[in-house]
Structure formats: C-alpha cells, structure tokens
Amino acid sequence: MRQFGHEVGNGIALVANHFIQVITIMMLMGLVCFSIGMNLPIVTDKAIALYQSQELRAHDPVYFTAYYDDTREKTEDQASVNILANELTKGTAVSYISNDIELSHKDFANRHHVFIVMGSKANLAVFGIPHPQSTKPRAYLGSALTETSINLPIAGYKLTAREHLPANASFFSPHGFGESFAHYVVIVLPPSALLRMDEAEKENALFNTVFLMNEPSHISDHDLSAFLHSCHRRGMDFIPQNLSVDLPEQFRKVVAFTISYVVPSLALLILVFFLFYSLGKTLVREEMTELRIRYLFGATLGSLSIRVITFLLLSLVIPAVLPTALLAYWAQEKFVIPGIIILIFTAIVFVLCTLTSMRTIKRSIS
C-alpha cells in the first residue's frame, strides 16, 4: 500500500515536470468541449426535427411565416378560426397552441408550460402521446413534473391531468421551436373547442397551423385565400411556405452556420489526442532507465506501470472530464450528445495509449 502511494506520488511529480503540455491539453479540451457543446446541439435539434417531420412532410404540408403590421387597425375576425376548426375536423390540418394560454388565469396549470393539441392528425406533430388519433378531451403531465394531478378548466371542459407521459414524448414545430414534453402539461382538445378560446390562444393556433395538401379533401384555394384575408384583418400577414422544401433548406443553413465550429473543434480534439500520445512516448523514454533499474531490483511490471498510468490519467482523463462535467452541469440535457462523444473518444485514446506504453516498457525491459 505504501509503495502504491509512492508510485502515485511519483506520477503526480511527472505531471508537474510536464506542466506546460498538461495545461495545454486541459485548455484545448476546454475549448473543444465548449465549442462543440454550444454548436452541435443546434445541428442535432434540426436533424431530430428533420427526422420527426418525415411523416408530416410526406403529406405535402404548408405552414405560415408571419409578418406583424402594428400600423394597421386590428379586428377580431373569426373567419380564419372557423376555417381552421373546419379543416381540423376534416383531418386536413394540424395545429397546436404553445403560448399565451389562459393569460387571464395566472396560476393555470401551476404555471407550467401548457401545450394544447387539436385534430385527428395530431400524431404528425406530437409524439409519444397515447391514442394520438382520438380527439377525446384529456390531459397529461410531462415526465419531469412532480405533481400527481393538476386541474385544468379550459374552453368549457373541466380536465384533470393524472397520467405522466413517457420521457421521449415531444412535439415538432415548423417554426423550429420543437421541444421535449418533459416540463409540459399537455392537453388534447376536439377541434370545436377552438371556437371557445381566447383571442390570444386563437392567434397562436392560427400561427401554428399546418395544412396537409395531399389529402383528397384538402383546403380549397378559395378557403386558403379567405384564411389569409382573415388573418390579414387580424393584423398578421401570413406567407405560405412549403415545409418539404423549406425544412431541408433550414437544415442546410444550420449546418453551414455551425460546421465551421464543429469540424475544426473535432480536428483539434484529434490533435489533442496526438499531443497526449507524444507525451506518453516522451515520458516512457525519459523514465526508461529508472524503470529498468527498479525492475532489476525486483519490482513487478504491474507496480512499475502504476506511475505511468497515474500520469496518463492525470494528464488526459481529468482535463477531459473536468470541462465536460462542468458544461454538462451548466447546459443540462443539451450537452449529453457532445459529452458522450468526447468521453468515448477520450476513453478509447486513454486505453490505446496505456496499452502501447505498457508494451514499450515490457519490451525494453525484458
């Protein structure tokens, strides 16, 4: 045991001797972790959205981007709401409300995020909810919520959310705000409930509308034009966008924006491992004489390698784990994928380096 402590102490002394290299490894690791952690989630989010919307995109969907003109008079024109409710009933539209819910009722749903989904085609935009095709009014709790039940009086219904959703439940948003349902309260309502909602909720539903154009009974040109006219009178200029064309283009833009961070960071990570490998080689070369003498005096190969392994642990694994852990603590779920990538790489390089150094030691001693 005493000898073990001695060997570990020597390993730490070696780190002090190669201080500059170890500090460089640590700093580069920190930079790599930071830049990958900040940028990779943007791409993975879009890639997940692209994957999630596969089924929706097969329906030739049209969504809307909005221009808000504050200079005009606004009305509470109901034609667009009626058209939307009608299309939702027919199953040729998907819509949801994710903002501005029950603004007059401050403690609604214990101040959690609320998400209202309507229509029989909800399964195209909402994932992980039991019986997504059914429009029976009901409510669910997100997997991270601690409450056992929440009362939700909305649009004339008195709903109570008791069931928790699975952890992978999430929704897709054509506007790029799709999210996991972990911290949400999710309400399913029949399309007719839309007519009984507040104006703010209706506006959010209009904004989040996706019309499915490949259904045989899809929205007519006349209705679409009336829908746009009515939204215009409400103060929102809607511009129809084809999601199947638009989303891959959005993905391309996001990749173009983040790839000059992600790929150079990964390249730098490889260089850091290269630096580490060369550090291991230098170390074995420098220590070889001493190791050989101690071997002649009866030290086993195992006890000799403790020193080298301590050094390698301190100079690679700690500099890699420290920033990863810090960022994982700070950025939470977003850092899971980059963190796992970095740690797996580090583990592989560590094992490879240890094995090669051990082999070199073994060969040159015997």
Partner: protein
Amino acid sequence: MHKKLTAALSAFIFSLILAFLAFSVSEALNEIHNQSFGIGGEYTQLSIPQMANPSPDRKQEQEKALIKLRKYLADEKIIFISATDRGEGNPSVLVYDPLSTTWARNVKPSQTYVVKGSYFEELWKKKQNNPLLIESISRINGVIDPDASLQGQEYQFVHGLDEKISPSGKAILSTQNPEKVQHVQSLLSQALLQPQVLPRMTWKTALITHKEIDFTLLVSVLSIVACVMALNGVLEGLIPEFIIHTYSGGTALSITRKYIRHQFPTVALSSLAGSVFLLILNAMLQFARLNPFLLSLLLLSWLASTLIVELMLFLIVFSQLQVTFATNRKK
C-alpha cells in the same frame, strides 16, 4: 508507423482546419456582398424602424416629403432599395433606380410587382385577389426577378418608390457621400421616420459579426501550438537515426533538409486530403455552394498548410539536432 504518420496526421488536421477557415471567409464575404441587395460598388446602409400610421393631416406632410425624396434621388442619381425586417410590417421591397443599372431598372415608380417564384405570383396568375396587398394599391403590374439576396426570403412584392408607401426596415443608398446621405436622412425625418446610418463594413466589424472566422483562426493558431508540442515529442525518438548520418559527413542543416524533402510528398498529399475532406463532407451535407472563389481559397489553404507543416518539421528537427550535437560536443 510514427515516421510517416506523424507528419501526415498533422498535415491532414491542419489543412482541414485551414480549409474551414477558407470556407468561413468565403461565407462571410458572400453575406457581406448580399447586404447591398445587388447594388455594385459603394453603398450606405440605413435602418428605418417601423412607425405607427400618422394622422391624416400629417400623412400629407409625409407624402410631400417622400415626393421630395424621389426628386432628390433622381437629381443626384442615387439608387434606393429598402426591404422590411423579418416579421415586421409588410413583406415587401421598395425600390427606386434612377441609373437603371441594377435588377431594379424594370421597376417603375408607383407601380407594384410580385416577386418571381413567390406564392403571390401564383395567386396573381390565377387572377385571384391578393390578401396581403396594402389597401392603397389597386393592381399589380407584373412579375419581377429581384437580386439573389432578396430571393428565397419571404418578400412577396416589389414596389416602385411611391409617396403612399413609407419605407421601413433596412435601406441601401448607392452613395457614401456624407452630405448626400445626410440630406436623404433629413428628408426621411421630414417624412416622420427615424432613419439611422448603420456603420460601414470594415474588416473589424466583419470579424466582430462573423465569429466563425475568429474561431477558425483561433483554432488554426492553437493547432500549430499543439502540433509543435506533439511533433516535438514524437520526433525526439528519431534522433538516434539522424545521428547515424553524421558519420557520413552530414550536418544538422543537411540532415534536416533531406528529412523534410523526404517528407514533402506525404505532407502535400495529406494536406490535399484535408481540403478534399471538406468537399466530401459538402457532398454529403450540402452546406456550401461551390463557386470558383471558394475553390481558389481551398487551393490557397492547401498550399499554406503544406508550407506551414514543412516549416514546422524543419524547425523542430533542426533545433533538436542542434541541441543534441551541442550536448554531444560537450561530452
């Protein structure tokens, strides 16, 4: 493995990083070019926040000022293009081109066109009435094909400069003369707007707004540091082999020169692989539009990385040999 692989690996990684530096530079230049909405040459950017509609009597005042503005622009031969900000106002572009040199030459004042390829072009062709058109405009006069920087966005209409439509969003003037810009600004202020001149694009502001250039530059510098440290450790193991050459009369300089000449094909090929890797990635993800400018920058980055890695190898081996010879001589 070390002898060839060390140099090859550093060259590959380094040229990959330089290739991404080249890519981010070309992206930034492309974006800066797009900011001018297709006006070649010098230009000034103005930001015009959206204002509430004026009362009827002030509306007349605004119209008068906008007529004066058009007259001034015509006299001074200044091109004026303004486009609304994303999500604000009406998705339209306001254009006046007295020089008839840009894409906007076909736009006549006080006329309205739909943007080619937009949803409202389809509506117009089907002769349906248009939901988003401003009330004061009764008819659409045709289709226009605007500059690439205005396409693919949400703009639906192109208006010729008209006293009924007040500009908002971002405006471009085809002049940098401070007096003329000042005059246009004062005319816009008379039209009850609050224009502000945006700072001119210099290399400093370009670096501030395009962080990816800063980042790739930083990473390339850091990768030189990491490469030097790593190569220093690995190449030390080759010293005994180099020493042999001294018996046949080799000096530090001649041995090093021979070494890097020997390494040159490896380094050049691996650097090329780094640049090609970007192209392969692009073929998979389609993130960049290949153009001659980007390709020439990639070629440049290939040459630069080959040279820099060769220089690194030279300096490291040379200094190590010098040190070894000095210690040997002491013995």
